[in-house]
C-alpha cells in the first residue's frame, strides 16, 4: 500500500476516512483476530474487545495526523497489523497475568540459553532451537508431548527444560504463544479471567490538566519536567513547542516560573551553553540526537514518552 496521505483526507467522520477503516484496516484486523480465536487463545467476545481497542487507536492516530500533520505512515497495512498484535498482547497480559509471566520467563530463558532463538514472522514471535532461525512454523499449534498413556510429559518446573522438550518434540519452530499454551496447560498455570485493569490514563481533553489556570498549569508543568529522566527532559525541552512553534522554555522564562539558570541546570548544561542555543530553539530532532549521542528515533521515543508521562501525571 502507498504511504497514507492525510492531506487528501477530510475531517474525522468524512466518508473517505470511514472507507479507509472498513476497506483497508478491517481486512487486516479480522484475519489476525480469527487466527487467535481459532486457536482458542482469544475468546470471540475478547476478540470484539480487541477489535474495538484497535479501531479506537486507529481513529485517534488518524485524527491526530489530520489535526497536526504528524509523520506519515509509510505502510498503513503494516501499521494496522502492528497495532492489532500489540492490542492482542496487551489484552492477554491484562486478562491472564499468570500466563503473561510465564511468557516473559520463557523470553528470558531464550535470551540467556544458547540452545534457543526467537525471531519474528509476520509480526508474531517464533521460537526454535539454534540453527532453525528464520523458518516459518508449519504448524499453527505446538504438538503436545505426551507419554503412552496420553499424559503430558512436560513436568519439569524449569522453563528452559520444558521449552527444550516442547521444541525437540515438535522438531521444528513453533509460535511462542503456542508454546506458552502447552506449558501453561502442563503446569496448570491458569488465570481466573479478570475484567480489564486499565493503565488509567486520563483521556485527552478531560481531567485536571485542561481545567488548570495558566500559571498553575505552567508551575505543574515545570515541576513534572524536572522529575523526568535526564535524556527525556532534554529531548522534551529542546523541542517542546506550542502550535505556532514557540518553544516551551521561553514560555517558562516569560512567565517567571523558571529562570535561565534553573532551565540550564535541568537541561544539564551551563547558562552560557543555553544562551548559545537560545535563538535556535526549538531544535530539530537530528540536532538533539547529535547532542545526546543517540539516534533520531530515540529522541522521538524519549519525547513521546515524556509527553505521555506529563499527561498521566498532570491529568490526575
Amino acid at each position: 500500500m502507498n504511504p497514507l496521505d492525510v492531506e487528501k483526507m477530510g475531517p474525522v467522520g468524512d466518508p473517505s476516512l470511514e472507507r479507509l477503516l472498513t476497506e483497508v484496516a478491517q481486512p487486516v484486523i479480522e484475519p489476525i483476530l480469527a487466527r487467535y480465536t481459532r486457536s482458542r487463545t482469544l475468546a470471540p467476545i475478547d476478540a470484539e474487545d480487541v477489535e474495538s481497542a484497535v479501531n479506537v487507536r486507529l481513529i485517534g492516530k488518524l485524527r491526530r495526523m489530520i489535526a497536526e500533520g504528524g509523520e506519515a505512515v509509510a505502510d498503513f497495512e503494516k501499521y494496522v497489523a502492528t497495532i492489532t498484535y500489540n492490542a492482542i498482547s496487551d489484552h492477554l497480559r491484562r486478562r491472564f497475568p499468570q500466563r503473561a509471566r510465564l511468557k516473559n520467563r520463557l523470553r528470558y530463558v531464550v535470551a540467556h540459553d544458547q540452545r534457543f532463538e526467537v525471531w519474528m514472522v509476520a509480526g508474531e514471535t517464533v521460537c526454535g532451537l539454534r540453527g532453525w532461525t528464520g523458518t516459518r512454523p508449519a504448524l499453527r499449534e505446538a504438538p503436545v508431548p505426551t507419554d503412552v498413556a496420553g499424559r503430558l510429559t512436560v513436568d519439569s518446573r524449569e522453563p528452559a527444560e520444558a521449552l527444550a522438550e516442547v521444541l525437540e518434540h515438535a522438531g521444528q519452530p513453533v509460535w511462542l504463544n503456542s508454546i506458552v499454551s502447552v506449558i501453561a496447560e502442563a503446569w496448570n498455570v491458569s488465570d481466573v479471567p479478570s475484567r480489564e485493569r486499565p493503565v488509567a490514563l486520563p483521556s485527552p481533553g478531560a481531567g485536571t490538566l485542561s481545567r488548570m489556570e495558566t500559571r498553575e498549569f505552567l508551575q505543574a508543568l515545570w515541576r513534572e519536567v524536572q522529575a523526568l529522566r535526564p535524556m527525556q527532559r532534554q529531548a522534551l525541552l529542546l523541542n517542546l513547542r506550542d502550535d505556532e512553534s514557540v518553544d516551551v522554555i521561553s514560555v517558562l522564562v516569560r512567565s517567571g516560573i523558571a529562570d535561565h539558570g534553573a532551565i540550564a541546570h535541568a537541561m544539564e548544561m551551563t547558562a552560557e551553553e543555553l544562551s548559545a542555543i537560545w535563538n535556535d530553539l526549538p531544535l530539530d530532532d537530528l540536532t538533539i540526537a547529535a547532542r545526546l549521542g543517540i539516534t533520531r528515533q530515540q529522541v522521538i521515543n524519549l519525547r513521546k514518552s515524556a509527553r505521555e508521562r506529563l499527561r498521566r501525571r498532570m491529568g490526575r
Binding site: 485517534g60 492516530k61 489535526a67 497536526e68 500489540n86 496487551d90 497480559r93 497475568p97 503473561a100 509471566r101 511468557k103 516473559n104 523470553r107 528470558y108 540467556h112 526467537v118 525471531w119 519474528m120 514471535t125 526454535g128 532451537l129 540453527g131 532461525t133 528464520g134 523458518t135 521444528q172 519452530p173 493503565v199 485527552p204 490538566l209 485542561s210 495558566t214 505552567l218 508543568l221 524536572q226 522529575a227 529522566r229 535524556m231 517542546l240 513547542r241 506550542d242 505556532e244 514557540v246 521561553s250 514560555v251 516569560r254 544562551s275 537560545w278 547532542r291 549521542g293 543517540i294 539516534t295 530515540q298 529522541v299 524519549l302 513521546k304 514518552s305 505521555e308 506529563l310 499527561r311
Partner: protein
C-alpha cells in the same frame, strides 16, 4: 538573553494553551513488550531506551508487576545455577578426564560427529532478527582525547585489560540489630542502596507491601533533609535536589491497618547512598558530550568514580558495539 518584559499576558496565555494542547494530545500508551522487559531486567537496555521503558513502568502497575516477577525469576535462576555449579565442581575432574578421552577417541576413529537435533530442520534463507544490529564502536581518537586525563586512563585500561578501581565509598552499613527485631520482610529490595548515584533527585524504590501506604525519609548526618508525602506506590522522587558529594541514609515508613513498620526491616542494614560529586559529574557530562558514543570511555569514568553498575552497563554496550578491548575487559570482570 531576550527581554520579555513587553510581551503581553495574552500572548503568554496563548502559548501556554498551545503547550497544554500538545501535552493533552499525547498518543495512547503502549505497554513495554516482553523482549524489552527482559532487557530492562538484565540492565542491558541502551540508556535512552531505558528511560523510555522506565518512564512507562513507573506508572503502569501491570508492566511493573511483570518486571518484578521477571527479576525474581532471574534471581532464582541465578541461585539455582550457582547451586548446580557447586555440585558440578565435585565431578569436574572426572568429567574433564572423560572429555579428553572422548576427544582422543574421536581423533583416532576419525568419524564425523553425530548430527545434533538442530540439524533436523534446514536453516532458512531469510533471517529476520528480533533486534537490530548494534552500531559499530567509534574509533578511539587517534591523537588522544582533548582531556589528557581521559587519554591516560584509556591507555592504562587498554593496556591492563581492567577497569580502574576506586576507593570503597563506605556505603555498606552493617546489619542493624539495634533497630528492633525482624518483621519478616528481611529480603526486601531497596534502591538506591550501597552505591553512588549520578542524579541529584534519584528515584527511591522498594519492594511493595500490598495494601500499605508509605512515607520516605532521607537523612544526612542524622538530620532529615527530605520527606515524601503519603505514597500509595513503592517509589518516590524528591522535589528538591540533594547535594552532590554527600552521603545519605533513607528509609520507608510503611503503614497497614494502623501498624507502622520500617523498610529496610531490621536487622537488614540501613540503606546508604551517595550523590556523585560536582567535579566528577562535570567530568562525566563533558565526556558524554564530547564523545557520546565512546561507551568504553564512559565505562572507565564510571568505574573511576565508583559507579560499578553503570560501568558494567557501558562496558556491555561498548562490547556489543564491537570494541574488542571492552569485550576483553568484560570477560575478565
Amino acid at each position: 538573553m531576550p527581554d520579555h518584559r513587553n510581551e503581553s499576558n495574552a500572548e503568554l496565555e496563548r502559548s501556554a494553551a498551545g503547550v497544554r494542547q500538545t501535552i493533552l494530545s499525547a498518543e495512547d500508551e503502549e505497554h513495554v513488550d516482553a523482549g524489552t522487559l527482559v532487557l530492562v531486567a538484565d540492565g542491558k537496555l541502551d540508556p535512552a531506551d531505558r528511560e523510555v521503558a522506565e518512564s512507562h513502568i513507573d506508572d503502569c502497575a501491570m508492566c511493573r508487576e511483570e518486571l518484578e516477577d521477571l527479576r525474581r525469576f532471574a534471581l532464582e535462576r541465578q541461585q539455582r545455577g550457582q547451586t548446580r555449579l557447586r555440585r558440578a565442581a565435585r565431578f569436574s575432574i572426572p568429567l574433564a578426564a572423560a572429555a579428553v578421552l572422548a576427544l582422543v577417541l574421536r581423533l583416532l576413529v576419525r568419524e564425523p560427529a553425530h548430527p545434533t537435533v538442530t540439524s533436523r530442520v534446514a536453516p532458512p534463507a531469510a533471517v529476520i532478527p528480533t533486534t537490530s544490529a548494534p552500531r559499530p564502536a567509534p574509533p578511539a581518537p587517534a591523537t588522544g582525547y582533548a582531556n589528557p586525563k581521559w587519554t591516560g586512563l584509556m591507555a592504562e585500561v587498554r593496556r591492563s585489560g581492567r577497569l580502574p578501581s576506586s576507593p570503597d565509598p563506605g556505603l555498606t552499613a552493617p546489619d542493624d540489630i539495634l533497630r528492633g527485631s525482624s518483621s519478616g520482610h528481611a529480603a526486601e529490595r531497596v534502591a538506591p542502596a550501597g552505591r553512588i548515584v549520578e542524579e541529584t533527585r534519584p528515584e527511591f524504590s522498594w519492594t511493595p507491601r500490598p495494601g500499605s501506604t508509605y512515607v520516605v525519609a532521607v537523612f544526612r548526618d542524622e538530620v532529615e533533609v527530605a520527606r515524601s508525602p503519603l505514597l500509595h506506590e513503592p517509589r518516590w522522587r524528591p522535589a528538591q535536589t540533594l547535594r552532590r558529594g554527600n552521603t545519605y541514609i533513607w528509609q520507608v515508613e510503611t503503614t497497614k491497618d494502623g501498624t507502622t513498620d520500617i523498610i529496610p526491616s531490621p536487622p537488614a542494614p540501613q540503606s546508604m547512598f551517595a550523590i556523585l560529586g560536582e567535579a566528577e559529574h562535570a567530568d562525566l557530562v563533558a565526556a558524554r558530550r564530547a564523545h557520546p558514543r565512546d561507551r568504553l570511555l564512559h565505562a572507565v569514568l564510571f568505574a573511576r568514580y565508583g559507579m560499578r553498575d553503570e560501568a558494567r552497563a557501558s562496558l556491555r554496550e561498548a562490547a556489543a558495539a564491537g570494541d574488542a578491548d571492552a569485550a576483553r575487559i568484560l570477560a575478565a570482570e
